[in-house]
Symmetry: C2
Subunit: 377 residues, 2 copies
């Protein structure tokens, strides 16, 4: 953090999106964004939001610029909520420490994502995690406070606040004070990689806030999922992760992705996020997993796939994908040589390519956010 | 029934397929075909199997001919099972009545369906219900015995044995003696019609026996559906049917179709029966149901839709369908004038027709099977 003579503090952070291995779907409190069930995730290190926040003393408006475009804050209330809460926490801390510096401040946020915001890749989660982490630095907040800031911006943002396997606990309390995302004790499993496949489609998507509400209000299966299925799966994921048991991990990841989409389908009216390309990818993974499970697909609230594999299997998996799905040559060229050198593209083996992937990215997982010690100003 | 001097008895029946309003999915006994949960259905009167059975005395092979083609019985064991059970019941009855006529007999079955067998429209259910009803006549069996014959041929066949709202009770006993399909007390709701839309697709389908087994063994949601959701829905359907409350009936029908597909998706590997055309139809129905529910879609183990509407709304619904989905002109021409006279096909209102329906049929519901008193021979 730097502070110059004019009372401007500034910090820059780089925060990756995260992908849930056991999905978050449904809120127990809409205002505080408290989830109905625990979830567990890993960061996708390559897909990041790089965010600089300046805290400026004196009268002025908060501003947020994402990828060069000014965000209209009056129609994006969540930014205002996060800034208000930040300043409330600051005042509280100052009163507590008997300080008197009740000066006015405002925030200027500049954020850049390295993936399409519209691709449905939880960009807002990375963005709000970045804002929360940066404000934590600026205001010297504790982790629980920072977690809360991220969460009220975008629920799953709190899972991007650290590396390793992150467990977002739903908590029991009404005020959300025990609802936190924590890194599990394990070292990061550095061998886990993911292949992200973006499948655009023209359908109008049911937003995840609206979708969660609909499922909570209408699905007769959700309650059973929340009470019985999810707690067991959280334990299974932790155990498989700490014992480095890829097959067990993969089985739970795929089952939970499918169950999340199942409760969406069980809603009234039914919600669908998977499209024909998603289903082709599921089939490709099923084939690739014969006779041994080496890949696990997972889909969030959209058609895009995230396929988790071990580093040693990245090339083999891409070889399997390009047989069934059309991939941009440029995306393949952009991959590190260690992954591309053993990809085999045997055109005679290709199935009729009906589905096209508009973007393919390979990333390590679980490295978490970076606080940039040298601010860019 | 007729019997000539050479010892040949013959009977002809016409049996409609049925569509479940609360779905059967999962067996508690694979051999006796006992279901894990109750289901409830109506017949689709227009789609029938017309079946003639001759019972011939003396040594000879059972034969089954469907739509002019001889069925290879060695690879279709269920026919043999039904014939064996029929003859066992006959012997039992004769022994009981102290009869001595333990003569050899065999069956000759000739069946004709008026809808494509491959369309996934539960043709085997109608076919086995026809065989069971005809053998009931020939051997003078009671309803429970006939029910059992139909069921061991094809589980849901037992729901085609009568008209009205038919409730197939799963029963509790291991021998299946309390597992029967019964007509509920109500008069048939003659105002209910259905529009069947056949959407072919090239995907290899997971057969329903295999699909049920997979869901039973792997879905963590199925148990909750069976124990908690289905019993309530059976009650709701009965109540809505007896009070002629279309909206309530429709709500349960759609929710249960979606939940059946949800537990399929919750299976490992996931099972999918709905395709893009099915989802277009769901959207069409959702639009049509604004501001008032006037149609209910339901899908069995395939992409084809059955949309239940009241007679007064048939034309309006077809008007809505042809806006979104391509329908054969011949199918429309084949409809009775009462339905076609007020169809409006406003080409300027049509959405871009991406999905084509290969067959459209409108049918009354719940009239049940007919025993033809004059055999055709």
């Amino acid at each position: 953090m730097s502070q110059n003579e004019t009372g401007i503090s500034e910090v820059t952070v780089e925060v990756p999106m995260n992908i849930a291995l056991v999905k978050y779907w449904g809120k127990r409190d809409e205002k505080l964004i408290l989830p109905l069930n625990d979830s567990i995730s890993l960061t996708v290190d390559k897909l990041t939001a790089e965010t600089t926040i300046r805290m400026v003393e004196g009268v002025g408006k908060h501003t947020v610029k994402i990828n060069g475009e000014e965000v209209e804050l009056s129609s994006n209330k969540r930014y205002q909520t996060v800034f208000d809460e930040s300043l409330r926490l600051q005042r509280k801390r100052k009163e507590y420490s008997n300080g008197n510096e009740n000066r006015l401040v405002h925030f200027e946020v500049i954020s850049k994502t390295n993936f399409p915001v519209a691709a449905g890749l939880a960009s807002s989660a990375a963005g709000f995690a970045a804002i929360a982490l940066a404000i934590q630095q600026l205001l010297n907040l504790n982790d629980t406070q920072a977690n809360r800031l991220a969460r009220i911006g975008s629920g799953s943002a709190c899972r991007s606040m650290s590396g390793g396997l992150v467990h977002w606990k739903k908590g029991e309390k009404d005020d959300g004070s025990d609802c936190v995302a924590v890194k599990t004790a394990d070292d990061n499993w550095t061998d886990l990689y993911c292949v992200i496949l973006v499948f655009n489609d023209g359908r109008k998507k049911v937003g995840s806030s609206e979708g969660m509400r609909r499922t909570r209000e209408t699905s007769t299966l959700l309650k059973h999922r929340i009470e019985k299925v999810v707690p067991e799966r959280i334990d299974s994921i932790k155990k498989a992760y700490s014992t480095r048991n890829f097959e067990d991990l993969a089985r739970v990841i795929m089952a939970d992705s499918n169950q999340f989409h199942a409760v969406c389908l069980d809603s009234v009216p039914p919600i669908r996020y998977l499209n024909e390309s998603s289903w082709q990818l599921i089939e490709t993974v099923e084939k690739f997993n014969q006779p041994e499970i080496r890949a696990a697909y997972t889909f969030d609230a959209g058609p895009n796939a995230c396929v988790i594999v071990q580093k040693k299997d990245v090339s083999k998996f891409i070889t399997a994908v390009i047989r069934d799905i059309q991939i941009n040559t440029d995306d393949l060229k952009a991959l590190p040589e260690e992954f591309t050198k053993s990809i085999e593209d045997r055109k005679d083996e290709r199935t009729e390519n009906k589905f096209a992937c508009s973007q393919l990215v390979v990333s390590s997982m679980g490295n978490g956010p970076k606080i940039c010690t040298h601010p860019r100003t």
